[in-house]
């Protein structure tokens, strides 16, 4: 977090995050608030809390962390640097510890706002953490297959549906083209081997989508937040693209997208669409469920048409 992340330049108001997460049979509540101390230039943690199924794991005020009494663990306190987050520091007893599961879920959150023209096919290492602009796509591809080779079948299954002439994705480990993705297409007329960077922007988005779906299956459940997944796609592809992602997260994980694309927005019902609205740079963004807006008659008729008219006002 950085100072410029504070909303509307309000350095006098803490920035607060509250998460309620259901993973398996456990519900996690995590709260963290940041502030800028008077005369300071860097954010510090004002408070922090983790509870599992309503039972406190720890609380924290400024630099003081208090571990809650829990089974054989006695209540304890310890100081921490006020600029450090306590969550990764609070010790887990084993990987079966529920707080470990929560930390893994946080660490594996996928946040995407890809810029396809910047995505090349080379990689020097492997990762399970894609960076938002997608520029480490090749490292993510390698990391996913290294952690679960069976993920390729899932990637291949999706991509062959949307790119029927796809033959395979290559990522040689030795030779001149080592660790450089290329994609082979073929049909009865022959075949074509394209360096990954030469794919169209839309095709690169299909590739990212394939990895998201495979990752959710292999090391999910994931929370995937994709900023405008319908960018770079043809109108006839948008609904199916969104549907693939919605379907991929039905049995676990959560997919959240932002969109200005009417076809993308129409791929969701009112119940699972939030409308974000800001009157000016000096006022907070209002977030309302579209179903509530419709019930309150904040708009009538077709949502996308009302959006075109600018008639949706929370």
């Amino acid at each position: 977090m950085q100072v410029q992340d504070l909303g509307r330049g309000r350095t006098d108001v803490p920035m607060r995050f509250e998460l309620d997460v259901e993973l398996g049979s456990s519900t996690y509540t995590y709260v963290i608030a940041f502030e800028i101390p008077a005369g300071g230039e860097e954010l510090r943690v004002l408070e922090e809390k983790l509870a599992i199924n309503g039972d406190l794991v720890y609380t924290r005020k400024m630099a003081d962390v208090r571990l809650a009494k829990n089974g054989r663990v006695k209540e304890a306190t310890f100081p921490i640097d006020s600029q450090l987050v306590a969550l990764p520091i609070v010790q887990q007893h084993s990987i079966k510890d529920p707080s470990w599961e929560f930390q893994q879920w946080l660490a594996r959150m996928v946040i995407l706002r890809p810029v396809p023209s910047l995505i090349l096919g080379g990689s020097t290492k492997e990762t399970l953490r894609p960076i938002p602009d997608g520029t480490n796509f090749a490292a993510w591809f390698s990391g996913l297959l290294a952690s679960a080779p069976s993920a390729y079948a899932k990637i291949d299954e999706y991509l062959k549906q949307v790119l029927p002439d796809l033959k395979e994705i290559k990522n040689p480990v030795v030779g001149k083209e080592a660790r450089s993705l290329s994609v082979e297409f073929s049909n009865k007329n022959g075949s074509l081997d394209l360096p990954f960077e030469n794919l169209s922007d839309g095709e690169k988005c299909f590739m990212i989508c394939a990895l998201v779906l495979a990752a959710n299956e292999v090391y999910g459940p994931l929370l995937c937040f994709w900023d405008e997944p319908d960018n770079y796609l043809a109108p006839s592809e948008v609904q199916h693209f969104v549907m693939a992602l919605r379907r991929g997260f039905r049995s676990g994980g959560q997919f959240i997208a932002t969109s200005h694309n009417l076809e993308g927005i129409r791929s969701f019902s009112d119940e699972n669409t939030l409308f974000l609205y800001r009157k000016s740079h000096l006022e907070p963004t209002i977030v309302r469920r579209v179903a509530e807006l419709r019930k309150g008659r904040n708009f009538v008729g077709d949502l996308s048409e009302a959006m075109v008219r600018g008639d949706v006002e929370p």
């Binding site: 592809e237 609904q239 199916h240 549907m243 129409r266 019902s269 119940e271 179903a291």
Partner: protein
């Protein structure tokens, strides 16, 4: 990828946004979702008919593997669906299905059948498993004959493994 027009596929033309939501939540549950899609709401049942006649008749003639589902509210007018059927050209009638709530989709919610998400999912389950968990409701049971046709001709497109 777009729908493959040279293989059996289904387009749903909803009358309004409520029907669009039902259709989209149905589609989320469909196995072969790439061979189906939901079009922009027409803006009323007369507009559905108008759009169908001006656009989709020509397109359906061009693409013999195209099926269409028209989602029309009856607004308690029991003769509306029968009337719309008479407007469908005879040579396309086997590929066109007309479904909808007896009144309007909002009444399905009010009748306690759940949100559009729930209703769409239940409809898909009925279609997949040939069950009747929702189709027998008084607001929907008038669709029975069309649903039988739909199960025969469209279910294999949506759920090919069944």
């Amino acid at each position: 990828m777009s729908v493959n027009r040279h293989r059996p596929h289904v387009w749903v033309l909803p009358e309004d946004d409520a029907n669009r939501q039902l259709a989209i939540e149905f589609l989320v549950e469909v196995d072969s979702y790439l061979q189906a899609g939901v079009l922009q709401p027409a803006g009323g049942w007369t507009k559905v008919l108008e759009t169908f006649k001006s656009v989709h008749v020509v397109e359906m003639q061009k693409y013999p593997d195209r099926f269409m589902v028209l989602l029309i509210d009856s607004d308690d007018d029991i003769g509306r669906i029968a009337y719309v059927k008479t407007e469908i050209p005879g040579h396309l009638a086997e590929r066109v299905f007309i479904l909808g709530a007896l009144s309007e989709p909002e009444d399905l919610e009010r009748a306690g059948l759940g949100s559009y998400d729930d209703i769409g999912a239940k409809m898909a389950k009925d279609c997949r498993e040939d069950t009747d968990t929702i189709g027998g409701h008084e607001l929907l049971r008038h669709n029975a004959r069309e649903l039988d046709r739909l199960l025969q001709d469209v279910r294999p497109i949506l759920f090919p493994s069944i």
